[in-house]
Each structure stands twice: as C-alpha cells, then as structure tokens.
Symmetry: C2
Subunit: 208 residues, 2 copies
C-alpha cells in the first residue's frame, strides 16, 4: 500500500467516524450514543477508533470542529456575503436552517434541531471542554452576523442606531430558540413562520 | 400512624423525588441521572421509588408537570397579568429568568439554562412521551404570552398590525435561545443584555 493510499484510507476512517457520530447524536443525544454504536455504524473496529480518538469526548470535539467548518463554508460565508439586501440574506440563513430541518424530518422521521444547540443544552453543565468549544462556535457565529450587519449599517442599508453586535446575538438566539421549539414540536414550520416574523421585526429596513 | 400522617409522609416522599430529579437534571442531563442517584439524593429507597413511579420516564413526566405548574403560578401568571405596560411585563419575564440563572450560577457554580429547553433538546428525538409533554408546555407558554399581547392590542398599547400569536412564538424562541446561549457561555449576562434588546425590537410601543 503506498503512502498516499494509506493517508486516503486513514482520512476515510476518520471521516466515517465523524459522520457517524454526527448522525447518531443528531438522531439521539450525546449520552445515548456509545463508542461501540459509533464503531458499528461507521464499520470501524474499536482498535482503529482509539487510534484516531483517545475518547468519545475527543471524537465529539473533532465532530464539532468539522460540523462548524462545514456550516461556515456551506452556509454562513456564502449566504451572509451575498450581494443581496441584508434582510434577504438573514431570511435566507433562516430558510437554509428550515430546509435542513425538513430534510432531517424526511430522512430520520424527526426534526432534529441544531446539533450545536442540542449538544450545548445537554452537555454544558457536564463537560467543560465541550461547553467551551461550543461557546466559541456561538461567538464565531455572532461574529459572522455582526460583520454582515456592520457592513449594512455602513452601506446605509440599516439604521445607524442599530447595534450590530447586540442584534447579532438576538438573531442567533432567535434561530437557536426556533430550532429548539421546532424540534420539540417535531414541526419545522415553526422555524419558517416565526423566523420570518422575527427577522422582519428585528431588521426594519431604513425608510427611504 | 394516622391516615393524615401517612398521606403527608407520602406527599413528602413524592415531592422529595420530584425536587431531587429537577435539581440533578438541571446540574446534569436526563441521560446522566440514574434512578439510583435520584433515590440517594432524595434519601428514598428504591422500593419506595417504584411505588410512586413505574420508571424514570414517569418520574420525569411528573417533574415536568410540577415545574410547569410552578412556573405558571410563580412567574407567568403574576408577571403577565400585572397592571403595568406590556413592554415592562415582557421585560420583567426575561428579568425573572435572568435572576433565576444568576441564582443557579451562585448555587451550582454554573448557568443551567431552562429545564424544559434542556430536556427538550436532549430527549425530543429519543423519548416520544417526554417530547409530547414538553411540546404542550411550550404551546401553553405561547398561550400565556398570546393572551397578554392580544389584550395589549385591544387596549391600544400595541399596534393593531401586530400578530399576537406569531409574536408570542418569537418572544418564547428568543427567551429559550438566550437561555441556551447563556448556559453555553456560562454567562447569564447574555440573557440580560440581549433579552432587553430583543424585547425592545419586537415590541415597539405605539407612537402617540
């Protein structure tokens, strides 16, 4: 086996472990998913698991990093830096999350909510490294929103009295809260309907 | 032992089990708390536990009912039906939740978030009876907000263009989202600062 093939196989094993963890936690919880179940789902033996990750905690930290990179690259960057009005961009962000919930409901039979939010709600009082990592994820998320809002104020798309950072926290809280309420009701429509309402209430366009 | 004393003792045992469950889940999670740990914390033997509750699930359902009754009686009813302006009442509701988080942080050393929200995030894809019960809790919560907003529109405190039900979902989502973000950051100040911002953005008082 050449060095390149070894690396590709290793990457594949690691990626399979990350993907299985994400899928199993989404359909269950951190506590309900065992290393054994992850290995079976990923078709990886336990020896290989412990070669890549010393513990379930380490695997979940790597899964958070991987899911966050994907969220930034696939959703936040393209949606928030598009050349459309700021209100449309924020609505699009909420819409992407709604589409995601609809897909999950079709695939798993349930609205699964936000992986970061669900993990944070379950583990923040139990697991300090996971709490700290998720806290950074949410701060970075606020950073992405803040930059887009700040630019929109500069471009006179939004009123100069708007506080971009505080508004970014409100928009993220609204999104996480609606994802949680949709998961609890098993109904993504809550996110869609109330999300539009929230964005319109928070981001009044400047009267021209 | 008289019948009255027996009943009082039984009530006490049941109440101790409910209080211990609430406290242990708040400081941990549904999955991390065993029947054994609850019995030890409540100083109740396992035989008595199973006399009152057939399973951990039944105990948690009873705990949700009890915590919800308490939230309605101690917070929602008095705060939302007070004879102060609607914006002040909603701000007071957010402030009560903030005070609660500060107390938890002082008592347990951590911001513990919302018991209903944390349980919902962890169990909704795993436990259908608990998900269904929490879904009713959130619907009733929206009902309390909706009635207060509806009356405020009627009293011309809020603009007649405001949709009370949709606004109620937005206010609950904002509260649950901020409780989650505060728990993750272990910082109740997020709820305080962004909560005030959100309420002001959502509930613009009618221009007179």
């Amino acid at each position: 086996m050449s060095a390149i093939t070894t690396t590709a196989a290793a990457l594949d094993t690691r990626q399979r472990l990350l993907a299985s963890t994400s899928e199993l936690i989404e359909g269950g919880s951190y506590g309900s998913v065992s290393v054994q179940a992850i290995c079976e789902h990923a078709e990886v033996n336990k020896g290989s698991f412990y070669y890549y990750f010393p513990s379930k905690q380490d695997l979940v930290l790597a899964m958070i990093d991987s899911a966050w990179e994907e969220t930034v690259a696939d959703v936040l960057e393209p949606v928030l830096t598009a050349s459309t009005p700021i209100q449309d961009r924020i609505l699009r962000l909420y819409e992407c999350m709604y589409d995601d919930q609809r897909t999950h409901k079709r695939t798993f039979g349930k609205a699964t909510g936000c992986t970061f939010g669900s993990l944070a709600a379950e583990t923040s009082t139990l697991d300090e490294p996971i709490r700290a990592r998720l806290s950074i994820v949410f701060e970075e998320w606020v950073g992405h929103l803040d930059r887009a809002l700040r630019q929109a104020v500069k471009d006179k798309e939004l009123n100069s009295s708007l506080d971009p950072k505080a508004t970014a926290w409100v928009l993220l809280a609204g999104l996480e809260g609606l994802l949680l309420l949709s998961k609890t009701a098993d109904d993504p429509a809550i996110l869609r309907k109330s999300g539009q309402q929230l964005v319109h209430m928070v981001l009044d366009p400047v009267e021209l």
